[in-house]
């Protein structure tokens, strides 16, 4: 298993010898977690960066992993391509502890990955990035004709939908027949 380590490590701050009345609370060392996608490449991400993802934030809340435990138990996201997860991790790191500006220049630019990125971001529940991605999708058809929209958003025609539906029914029928035959064979 390869590993790309990102984020910054931080050492525990020295314990103060005196405690002035107005002193700020001691800085808590940042904790890190590990995630990997379909390609098994592990990404080290700080808890602060992961806060953007409501899904992961919910998973790690009160987990209390040590660094070693976290490393040994990376969160698997087998439904997300490695390069997509990398994009998401990069974005979370860039926006750690700060809200996304309305026009975010640090956003993933690869349009060809937009479909998978939207699904991943939706799955990981990263609200701000999802809003941006949805904006990108919506912007694709600004000022376009229905024919252009059909091409850009790959909308099948009614005839194509009907043919696909027929094909799906036929397949389902065959599968059901196959299962019945198999069950009958088992019974014999």
């Amino acid at each position: 298993m390869s590993s790309t380590e990102q984020g910054t490590s931080s050492a525990a701050p020295a314990e103060p010898t005196t405690a002035p009345e107005s002193a700020a609370a001691p800085e808590v060392p940042e904790s890190f977690y590990y995630v990997h996608g379909k390609d098994k490449v592990v990404h080290k991400v700080s808890a602060g960066a992961l806060q953007h993802s409501a899904l992961i934030h919910g998973m790690i809340s009160n987990l209390g992993y040590t660094e070693e435990q976290a490393k040994a138990n990376p969160f698997p996201f087998e439904n997300i391509d490695g390069d997509i997860l990398q994009m998401v991790v990069d974005w979370c790191n860039q926006h750690k502890g700060k809200p996304t500006p309305p026009e975010d220049t640090n956003l993933p630019k690869q349009k060809e990955k937009l479909f998978d990125l939207v699904l991943a971001v939706n799955y990981l529940e990263i609200k701000e990035l999802l809003t941006y991605c949805c904006k990108q999708v919506a912007m694709m058809v600004k000022g376009k004709s229905p024919e252009e929209i059909r091409e850009i958003w790959m909308i099948p025609t009614d005839a194509e939908d009907e043919a696909a539906e027929k094909e799906a029914k036929k397949r389902a029928g065959k599968e059901a027949a196959g299962e019945t035959a198999a069950a009958a064979g088992d019974a014999k």
Partner: protein, 339 residues
């Protein structure tokens, strides 16, 4: 541009994307296929409102902008789109059923539940009647319904019974019905404004459930208004009413209204102006205070002259403003009333 298989997104994602599209984009998408159309409908109800004036256009208000759907007079203009800052236009070929079918189509694909404005303005009531029937069937609320500028008043006479099935917030009527016209509200709009209101009789006033009533050219007399105001004094009567304005030639100085002979006005200083916050039209200057049996306060003024008028405002401590008018502002207030 790299295409993207939009309809493979789950419904919740489609909903997020569609929220970012304007009515023209979604209309064009709906024309791509039946499945695309269904996806838009499944995308949820929007807070958009639609307005229709009986002619070959209608518009959708999204909150920030208005999107006009206009009939394309020549085929080559089909889908011609002109975008502005707040006002946008698209020209389209109307469906086979004409403008009413387009109205229904937009209601359905966008899940619209409110009509902002329905008017018979210059185009008659033919299409408005058809749209009204659709709205009755679908139980869709109309914020403002205005009958005006129609060529044949008989169309309006035949239309009026539909009013009692429509859910209307504000009804305005600016036409003159024939003298024999008779109509009674069963279901009252929240607000009523009638220009030639001879047909709105005392029984209708006594049965009303409105918050605001403006009647011009009324036939209500001192006796009628006296009955109404005595009725209002009873606890629990007219719980929603906030403002009543009746202009009638039958208001005179021959009989009392609430034991007072008109004109009824407060001549004492300081002068006061009573108004309802955010309702700039509804105010009373130099009104006389009258009280309901439960203590609710009302302010009454009756003026005679060429256009006798009664104004009655019911106060609510939550939104009613009582202001003293400084002496040097007296001229301004008079000017304001003249308006």
């Amino acid at each position: 541009m790299m295409p993207i298989a939009l309809l493979k997104f789950p419904t919740d994602l489609l909903r997020e994307i569609f929220k970012l599209c304007d009515p023209f984009e979604l209309y064009k998408l709906s024309k791509c296929s039946k499945r695309a159309q269904k996806s838009i409908t499944l995308g949820g109800k929007r807070n958009w409102k639609i307005s229709f004036f009986g002619g070959n256009e209608m518009f959708i208000s999204t909150g920030y902008s208005n999107y006009y759907f206009n009939k394309a007079m020549i085929p080559k203009n089909h889908l011609l789109t002109i975008l502005g800052e707040y006002t946008n236009h698209i020209y389209i070929e109307l469906p086979v059923g004409g403008v009413v079918d387009l109205f229904v189509y937009l209601l359905e694909i966008f899940g619209i539940r409110t009509v902002k404005s329905l008017e018979s303005s210059f185009y008659g009531l033919h299409n408005v009647s058809k749209v009204a029937k659709v709205l009755i069937d679908k139980k869709i609320e109309i914020e403002g319904f205005w009958i005006r500028n129609i060529d044949d008043v008989q169309d309006a006479v035949h239309f009026m019974p539909l009013m009692n099935q429509m859910i209307i917030q504000k009804f305005q009527c600016s036409i003159e019905f024939p003298p024999e016209f008779h109509f009674e509200f069963v279901q009252y709009p929240n607000q009523i404004s009638i220009m030639d209101s001879f047909w709105f009789n005392i029984n209708q006033l006594l049965n009303s459930t409105c918050t605001r009533i403006h009647l011009q050219q009324s036939e209500l007399s001192n006796q009628d208004l006296n009955v109404f105001l005595h009725d209002w004094k009873n606890t629990g009567a007219f719980p929603k009413l906030r403002y009543l304005e009746i202009q009638s030639e039958k208001i005179d100085n021959q009989s009392p209204i609430l034991e007072m002979i008109p004109p009824i006005t407060n001549v004492n200083n300081p002068r006061t102006k009573i108004s309802i916050r955010n309702m700039f039209d509804d105010h009373i200057v130099d009104g006389v205070r009258v009280n309901k049996d439960d203590g609710t306060e009302g302010w009454l003024i009756v003026e005679l002259g060429e256009w006798p008028i009664l104004k009655f405002l019911i106060a609510d401590p939550a939104d009613t403003v009582v202001e003293e008018i400084p002496e040097d502002d007296e001229d301004d207030e008079d000017d304001e009333d003249d308006w």
